[in-house]
Symmetry: C2
Subunit: 111 residues, 2 copies
DNA sequence: ATCTATGTTCGACGAACATCGAATGAAAGA
DNA sequence: TCTTTCATTCGATGTTCGTCGAACATAGAT
């Protein structure tokens, strides 16, 4: 069973992590993983092509944010503990804030 | 004296802030501002063209991270307090970590 | 009024990115 | 073995980004 490559902890860079988190699709993915733990990679409800999702997961993986675990033909992703060691508290500091659209919905009058 | 435009606090988005911080030149600028306070915009010692520096400052300004203050022909930039209100603690959480090259220098043997 | 110093904007360029569909790969099941 | 299923990779396309030099704008000095 071929596993995907993960960079070692020393190779993680702050700018790469921030770049990985600066996309709304990827930020949603990370948020979901932080709240619900490991998920099958097909369990994300974003309206994008499968190949695009795979690309975003790769970006997050190469930045050190998530890890892939293959099991048969399926693939599970979760937050990478290594990330917390390299940049302790960073992820929590980012996920504390909700994305712009959610804030807008919460603040805007319903009408 | 024409001042430059700054977005209002409600318009700031998390992804835009992260994207603004995901460039090493801009991260260095923010780090310097956080440590030394307001600076003249020509006082940054990055080896880039003036127009490129201006571009980076614009990205940071539009993301809400910094503010511009013009005084005569000169221009001073500083961290924007509004940023701390919109995303309290975020900047500190990011700046706590040093950029990759600095870490590499600190960890790698000199030989 | 003209010059000078300081910054911003414009136009252009290559590099990197987000996206998609198609092709490929890998593993389980018939 | 053949098929099916799931995910990654490839190739293509349009967009965005970082960078530069040149042109412009503004304010002070001569």
């Amino acid at each position: 069973m071929k596993q995907l490559e993960h960079p070692c902890q020393e190779a993680l860079t702050l700018t790469a992590v921030l770049a990985a988190l600066s996309d709304s699709v990827r930020l949603d993915i990370v948020r979901e993983l932080a709240e619900c733990g490991e998920r099958g990679s097909s369990a994300f409800d974003c309206d994008i092509a499968n190949s695009t999702l795979s690309h975003h997961l790769k970006v997050l993986r190469l930045a050190g944010v998530i890890q892939h675990r293959k099991e048969g033909t399926r693939c599970f992703v979760s937050l990478r503990p290594c990330m917390e060691r390299a940049f302790p508290g960073l992820l929590a500091s980012v996920l504390r804030f909700h994305p712009a659209d959610v804030r807008a919905e919460a603040e805007a009058p319903t009408a």
